[in-house]
Symmetry: C2
Subunit: 262 residues, 2 copies
């Protein structure tokens, strides 16, 4: 399953907020052996959101997760972007409205807000593209949204990290686990080598010898001395198969590195 | 000037590394009043890099900055992607080779590496798309790259933050300052309000009244109690013009908020 993450928000593009949601999401998604294809970050504009969604579908993403732009304010436009991308009308969704009402009632009872009245701005969060269903949010006020299109699943999550995480763990994870097969495991080796360029032919050779394994060398930018980190990941159908691949790759790498230094 | 940032690297998409380069870059670029249009993050694959570049040109980006994928290893493919995007051959660039040779000589003299010999992997970093010129790098081994295409400037920087920052400050900033006009300034207000939805119509009204000003409300996700941050930015040609716009917007906002709570 190929995944695209669409990050919506001027605050990200303008550097006021550092996006950490996408990193958190892909760590969770990769543990399910999903393949992350691309991230796209766009401004709070309906045509930009719609274009990015259509590009991700065109690129073959089976699962598209959007972050941000679900709230009550004028610049929360993600659902309008989804609707525009797939020519769907926005409709009041009763279940979504129930979530919004319950959340504002709760905030009101906690004394956080002055009224639990469902204003136009609040009601907007229950306007979903036709055919979509809401995902519960018990942290904030905006429901997540799930939409199944022909060939792609689109999941919209709020940009506030605590809300995004709650919806993912409580609503999204169960849905994904039903659909995916396969496993991914990874290991990171830290080596006191100073030169990435001499590693290159060794990595190529080991990757060619152990199918299903991916090896990437990374300079540790913050290490005082020259250090190199090798990141080895493997996919497969069973734990034994995946662990076997990683072990074979590590063993071959270490032998070749020893040979190289003698 | 519209800017696109292309982030290249499996390690970002797979969540092993959190991308902070794009955030650092856009903070520097916005201070020059540049408009950041989009980020795209792709895997270490030539067709993916090429496609993203072509999309950014198609979207009207005048300046495209790429991060990552300039090093000596098998998966450093950014320059091949640039060449593929614009149908350019890769050619050995003497000036780039000079930078690579000087850097490996320096690392050798410091005892960081075992040989200063220019192997095939190291030589690869001096293979530039035809018409491009190198940007000096005195922190790492891979030169940055500047390519002027019809209508777009493409700047390729390494993914290692210290190298990216050095090249930007010492090589890129001067080039950009010659080309841009205009200023951007911003101010952030922190309000003890608990409810984003009641702010929405006020923000709309103030933005309509003060042209050149952009206002965004952001929930502070990590604040214990309900807090809202208002981020006000303005563009203009002179310091006076820009500061005047921000001051008028802040004044109007505060008055309307006071009226709202009475």
């Amino acid at each position: 399953m190929d995944v695209g993450i669409l990050i919506v928000g001027n605050e990200i593009l303008d550097g006021v907020v550092l996006d950490t949601n996408s990193n958190w999401l892909v760590r969770r998604l990769r543990a399910l052996a999903l393949h992350i294809r691309e991230f796209i970050t766009v401004r709070d504009e309906v045509p930009e959101i719609a274009k990015a969604l259509r590009r991700m579908v065109e690129d073959g993403c089976d699962l598209i997760i959007t972050t941000g732009g679900l709230g009550p304010t004028h610049d929360d436009k993600t659902l309008r972007g989804v609707a525009a991308a797939f020519n769907l009308p926005l409709e009041l969704n009763k279940e979504a409205l129930g979530i919004v009402e319950r959340q504002y009632r709760t905030f009101y009872e906690r004394g956080v807000i002055r009224t639990s009245e469902i204003t136009e701005a609040r009601r907007k969060m229950a306007l979903l593209p036709r055919g979509a269903r809401p995902l519960d949010n018990r942290v904030g006020s905006a429901p997540g949204v799930l939409l199944e299109m022909s060939g792609a699943t689109i999941i919209c999550l709020p940009g506030v990290p605590a809300e995004l995480k709650w919806i993912f763990e409580n609503e999204v994870l169960g849905i994904l686990k039903e659909r995916v097969k396969g496993l991914m495991r990874e290991r990171i080796l830290s080596l006191p080598a100073g030169d990435e360029s001499t590693l290159s032919p060794i990595i190529d050779e080991v990757m060619a010898q152990v199918p299903g394994v991916y090896i990437k060398s990374m300079v540790q930018p913050y290490a005082g001395k020259g250090h190199i980190r090798l990141w080895i990941s493997a996919y497969g159908d069973t734990e034994d198969e995946v662990e076997g691949r990683i072990s074979r790759a590590v063993e071959k790498l270490m032998r070749k590195l020893r040979e190289g230094t003698q």
